[in-house]
Symmetry: C2
Subunit: 312 residues, 2 copies
């Protein structure tokens, strides 16, 4: 496991390639939630999400020789864009396997950022096979979006910046998808605060992390119909031990609570956030008693949404 000094060094190494995103507050949302909230706006991050941090950290962790051959991942979402853009910044090839069913707008975004797309059948087996084929042919290194220690460390740098800007937070809440963001956040909280807690938030309809903390082993989901599409992935063997050890609890929220929280943020703060990001704010609104009078940090994970398909 990384030391505090190494984590600090990693943050300074990725800093030239990422934005130091602003922390926003809203008197209206504070009043609504009856607490004091500090929103770390990773929707303003390069390519629109925190994933830029982890992708950059993972590529920088490679040797010069490894880097020269490029990186490969399979993703239809933010990580594909993050790997494409950070690879471009560092001058190496990025091979992105995307399901043929991915929306054209996402394919275009990856192309804009310089990623080389290979299309495959829309299932995990086909995605893995296509990525493996590219690895063999090119020697490119495979990057996992959440179950990779360097990715986890990179994602944690958002919380480090939030803590630096606003010391004295009582808790930091993140949405939980594949587990990279919350594991990295928990590490940063552990390194840079005394008494701050790390709390996760996820939809009732995709509550594998909640159940995993309960049972002590990685659980999976049988349904797949939450609006928070960025969270539809499972924990992994690299991030789960960190989560089990350092995350206080996972709060689950209903779909209508996610949509209401998202609408509040758009209407009152005038910022564009993904449904996944609204899950963390929805958790604060749902369990007001737990947060009343506290200083609460929330990681707004991203702002990549399809404007022609909004839930309100």
């Amino acid at each position: 496991m990384i030391s505090k000094e190494e984590f600090t060094k990693l943050h300074s190494e990725i800093s030239p390639f990422i934005h130091r995103t602003p922390v926003l507050t809203s008197a209206l949302l504070n009043k609504l939630a009856e607490t004091e909230i500090f929103f770390k706006c990773e929707n303003f991050q390069k390519m629109g999400a925190f994933k830029m941090r982890g992708a950059t950290a993972a590529i920088l962790a490679l040797s010069e020789k490894e880097r020269a051959k490029g990186v490969v991942t399979h993703s239809s979402g933010n990580f594909a864009q993050a790997v494409s853009l950070s690879a471009k910044s560092l001058g190496i090839p990025a091979y992105i396997v995307m399901p043929s069913s991915a929306p054209q707008v996402k394919k275009d975004a990856v192309k804009t950022y310089g990623g080389q797309i290979t299309e495959c059948e829309p299932n995990l087996k086909a995605r893995e096979a296509a990525a493996e084929k590219i690895q063999k042919e090119t020697g490119a290194i495979f990057l996992h979006p959440s179950n990779d220690l360097n990715v986890i460390y990179g994602q944690g740098t958002a919380a480090k910046e939030l803590i630096e800007d606003f010391p004295g937070l009582d808790m930091i809440i993140t949405p939980v998808g594949g587990g990279g963001l919350i594991a990295g956040t928990a590490l940063a909280v552990n390194f840079y605060t005394e008494n701050c807690k790390t709390i996760g938030a996820e939809p009732f309809k995709f509550d594998d992390a909640y159940r995993s903390l309960e049972s002590g082993r990685i659980e999976f989901n049988e349904t797949n119909n939450t609006i928070a599409d960025g969270l539809k992935t499972n924990l992994g063997d690299k991030n789960f031990p960190i989560i089990k050890d350092k995350v206080s609890e996972i709060i689950r929220v209903e779909e209508d609570e996610i949509i209401a929280a998202m609408k509040f943020i758009w209407e009152r703060m005038k910022i564009v956030v993904e449904p996944s990001s609204a899950v963390a704010f929805a958790a604060v609104l749902r369990e007001k008693d737990k947060f009343r009078g506290k200083k609460v940090g929330i990681i707004i994970s991203g702002g990549n949404v399809d404007l022609s398909n909004l839930p309100f």
Copy 2:
């Protein structure tokens, strides 16, 4: 006319009651526009628009005795909310005449900010009559949303802050509705810069300011069907002389250009802006040759939109 020293003093007097809004930049939008743009984000202003500045300045300009009786305005838009909130901040009554046809969400916003609503028939005559009745009954002072010198000075403080944060701008562009924002901006540009120009932007479908600059007298519109609903008002005898004297030009844009510019801002900058605000960015995209290689300030006028009725 106000002096530079008085303008500076007015800004410091309203400052405790307004936000100093951030200035955002976007590498992607700069690339798209082939220039360097500095967005002054008045969508993050209190109540979501620059109108908070003018309303506060106008109320502060009243004597203690005048203020005690309150203020009255007729508006169905941002100025109603601005007067309500600034009156509330200063502890005086605000009487707001709204057409009965105004959307419930706008009435609710005014109520939230403490305004006392009087409903009237949805036409200008009825609005003016209702406001006059309230003036007579209560002694409240009438505030005009754009054709009032103190309102104009207040609106100009957004440009003053932008110039302070980013000296060396070649031009500042604002949308043109009733003329308060652009007149105030032109004054600030005149006071605090050497060679900066003030440029207006308005829809072809509501181009009274363009025609007024051409003819040298206040012109009106025969049609009323632009998406930029905040701009559907005419210049007045207080702001037109300033505009005629100090505004370099007005650029007109098509409706589809406004919608495309608005979508670019939402998608790439992840902020919620009104169609009226997008008019200024649309002008830069339409006339790229004019702005190439320049440093361009844009006043993002506000972010109060109906999320259930977006044009994309």
